[in-house]
């Protein structure tokens, strides 16, 4: 047998790997929510457009990206499985029907844009257009329910806080979709889309405030009023203000740049409130649930090598298709 020496007995370079992995898992979830989030938002905005050309433009805007964006969810599942197998297993099996509802919604969202372009008659496109909207709205809603139930240890399929957080995540994806489309479109479509921004942001902030109020009143144990959660709330408010001002001034790239701040503040809030638990429903802590040192070290090295490459791939992809969608440029 190979002797792995210190690699098998202590965390790499003495790093606090279990906390880092807890953070990494949520970071990956945040990457998914940010990147596929604007795809979902585009799907929601799609519902407001009935002009063929505008619909094609929306699909063209996300066409090259959404597939890669969605892979962050796969990586989230993999990272959670690799670092906290008991959490992955408990969480996914406990939310059995919810997980399959998410998968069903993702199937619908994934198929719809591909199918939409396969035939160009009205009935076909009407139905796949609807499927695209339903999949794009229900996926973030259900993910919000999932995140709330994870944090609060709720075991039922639906709950009031779950619904509120679900709606908040939908609003957040619309905020992201508006930011993205305002950069990628021009003319009347751009103006119409930008108009949705303030309303979506108002809805998001209102739903977050309701959620935080609920948590302060009902779940004081989570410590919403501690410094770090409050700081994240302040960061969110500042980003929201920046988003609204940038939209007003037509500085759409800047508006979009506030989106990751909002998304990561949201995800960090969930993670901070949860820590040191990793699965509140079962009381498993991060320290309980972490895999042993050897696999953890291996995965740390693998991630340290691979994630920078992943960012490079995304850099190539996004720079290839930067700039607004040209008129007449279709999804296909």
């Amino acid at each position: 047998m190979t002797d792995y020496g210190a690699f098998a007995t202590g965390p790499l370079f003495g790093l606090p790997l279990q906390e880092l992995w807890f953070g990494l898992v949520f970071f990956i979830l945040g990457m998914f929510l940010f990147l596929d989030g604007f795809d979902f938002g585009v799907g929601a905005i799609f519902a407001t457009r009935d002009d063929d050309e505008e619909r094609e433009t929306l699909l063209a805007a996300i066409g090259p990206f959404w597939d890669g964006n969605e892979v962050w969810l796969v990586v989230f599942g993999g990272a959670l499985f690799a670092a906290f197998p008991a959490v992955y297993a408990n969480l996914f099996s406990r939310h059995y029907l919810l997980m399959f509802a998410i998968l069903g919604a993702l199937i619908l969202r994934g198929l719809a844009p591909e199918m939409y372009e396969q035939r160009h008659d009205e009935a076909w496109q009407t139905w796949w257009g609807r499927a695209f909207v339903v999949g794009s709205v229900s996926t973030p809603f259900l993910l919000g329910v999932f995140a709330a139930h994870w944090l609060l240890g709720v075991e039922s399929l639906l709950s009031l806080p779950g619904v509120v957080v679900g709606l908040a995540v939908v609003a957040l994806t619309v905020v992201a979709g508006v930011g993205f489309l305002a950069m990628k479109t021009r003319g009347s479509l751009q103006r119409d889309v930008a108009d949705y921004g303030p309303r979506a942001m108002a809805a998001y902030l209102a739903l977050v405030v309701v959620t935080l109020g609920y948590l302060v009143a009902v779940r004081p144990d989570l410590g919403v009023l501690a410094p770090i959660p409050l700081a994240l709330v302040v960061v969110s408010l500042a980003a929201a203000a920046g988003y609204l001002l940038a939209l007003r001034d037509g500085r759409y790239t800047l508006a979009f740049a506030t989106v990751p701040v909002l998304v990561f503040a949201f995800v960090a809030l969930v993670a901070t409130l949860m820590f040191p638990l990793a699965d509140p429903a079962t009381g498993l802590t991060v320290a309980d649930a972490i895999v042993s040192v050897l696999p953890l070290n291996i995965m740390s090295v693998a991630s340290a090598l691979l994630l920078p490459l992943v960012f490079a791939y995304f850099g190539i992809l996004y720079s290839t298709f930067s700039g607004p969608i040209e008129t007449g440029e279709s999804y296909s």
Partner: protein, 474 residues
């Protein structure tokens, strides 16, 4: 309501059987697309641009359906097999996470460039994106098969118990991940994927040659495209079909050495015996022979000592341990036994088909033999069928174990799962995946019927994408 164990197993079987079609298509198409892209860039021959664009359309649809069905599988380890995931997460989670970061990311990001970016990037970057997509699909297979092969021939682990719960902990990652089964599985699977796609391509091309009466001098534009497709597919078929049989023979020996119970089920050997025949054509004369095959009672053409020969690598006298000798119950022998025969029969048919077509090519009759064309059309999905039954041999044959000799499948199912939930999602998947398969078939058939993009359209460039939707790659 079904028992949650049964329902979970059926659901995993169903979702895997449907999912594997799409990775076979994308992994098998990958080397073809790399070749078409290379030739498209390096030559002025428009047929390669047509080939690249046409098969990229099929690749893109397959990739999307493969993505959405693949996430399902990754989640099912947690939803339905939580006990397995908790026990073996240390060994099993790592390869899945690595697959996502190393392979899937590479494939999905460069697919955007490959499908949409021909006019936006340099030839060099376009070529890089073709290779990256292809490499991504194959690296995915590496990590998925590392995980799967470890379950077949587990090594590098120690068993511990944490508060009464079994924990399989990783002690030697090199031994675990470079386990004995991995190279066999990887080579067999990748070659099968390329072979399956070659058969599919040949079938599609032969269909057009046959239906449109294309001959060697036909100067219609699509005619050249289909002739070229048929020839390229045939060359690949000639290499991969015989290789699969030769490799499969050696693979069988490895299975006998590492999973004797599975091998005994493949041959339906219940009592330990030597000089065991290999029934290449087993003819069931009663229903019982189908549902409960037993090597000694079967009527058929048996190669004397054939199974012993296969097991030992050349000794017809070799002893095969019968299923009755093992402490654990036998896997469902009928499924394993018949699936194995169907796979092998399909494999030999592919070789025959390849030689038949090669002979016709040599005699300059490749486009005139309609019987051959019909045979190709009829065989276009048989490669995928062989992959399915082959995987059934592998996965059903290792039962009752989910990790060979370590954890039983029935002990791996989520403890809190109710029969109602499991049955509900099983029925849901049966409905949704039937629809998904129907939809995929419909879309692929449309693409095939439409045929290649014409050179005129090709020459006009991708900027003026026609609204007819034939330009899935510009």
């Amino acid at each position: 309501m079904l028992d949650p164990v049964i329902a979970s197993r059926l659901q995993f079987a169903l979702t895997t059987i449907v999912h594997i079609i799409f990775p076979v298509m994308s992994m098998g198409l990958a080397p073809f697309l790399i070749y078409f892209t290379w030739k498209d860039i390096r030559t002025d021959d428009p047929v390669y641009e047509q080939l690249r664009r046409f098969w990229t359309k099929i690749f893109a649809v397959s990739f999307v359906v493969g993505t959405v069905t693949g996430i399902v599988l990754e989640f099912e380890f947690g939803t339905n097999f939580a006990a397995f995931s908790t026990a073996a997460g240390e060994l099993f989670g790592g390869p899945l996470a690595t697959e996502g970061m190393m392979a899937f990311m590479l494939e999905a990001t460069f697919l955007g460039v490959f499908v949409f970016g021909r006019e936006k990037v340099s030839d060099a970057l376009y070529m890089v994106s073709a290779v990256a997509v292809g490499l991504g699909t194959w690296l995915s297979a590496v990590w998925i098969l590392v995980a799967n092969s470890w379950m077949q021939t587990p090594r590098g682990y120690e068993l511990a118990s944490e508060s009464g719960q079994l924990v399989v902990s990783l002690v030697d990652p090199i031994a675990a991940y470079a386990n004995p089964r991995f190279p066999w599985m990887f080579v067999h699977m990748q070659n099968a994927a390329v072979l399956s796609v070659a058969l599919f391509m040949a079938g599609v091309a032969a269909y057009h040659v046959w239906q449109r009466g294309i001959d060697a001098d036909d100067d219609r534009e699509a005619a050249r495209f289909w002739r070229k497709t048929l020839k390229i597919a045939l060359v690949v078929l000639l290499v991969t079909a015989p290789f699969q049989a030769i490799h499969g023979d050696a693979y069988g020996r490895h299975v006998y050495e590492t999973q004797p119970q599975k091998f005994a089920a493949m041959e339906a050997v219940w009592e330990t015996d030597s000089y065991v025949p290999e029934y290449i054509f087993a003819i069931p004369t009663s229903l019982e022979h189908i549902t409960d095959p037993r090597a000694k009672e079967l009527l058929g053409i048996g190669i004397p000592g054939g199974a012993s020969w296969l097991a030992s690598g050349g000794d017809p006298q070799a002893e095969i341990t019968g299923l009755n000798e093992f402490d654990t119950e036998a896997p469902p022998v009928a499924i394993v036994f018949w699936s194995f025969r169907l796979m092998v029969a399909a494999g030999f048919w592919f070789i025959l088909l390849a030689f038949w077509a090669a002979y016709r090519w040599w005699t300059d009759d490749l486009y005139d033999d309609d019987l051959l064309h019909k045979a190709f059309v009829g065989s276009s999905l048989l490669g995928i069928f062989a992959v399915e039954v082959g995987w059934i041999v592998t996965e059903v044959g290792r039962q009752p174990w989910v990790i060979q000799g370590v954890l039983k499948t029935s002990d791996g199912v989520s403890p809190g799962l109710t029969g109602f939930e499991a049955t509900l999602t099983l029925v849901g998947f049966a409905v949704v995946y039937s629809g998904l398969l129907a939809l995929y078939t419909y879309v692929i058939r449309r693409i095939i019927r439409e045929g290649p993009p014409s050179v005129d359209e090709t020459a006009a460039g991708a900027e003026t994408a026609s609204p007819a939707g034939v330009s899935g790659d510009d």
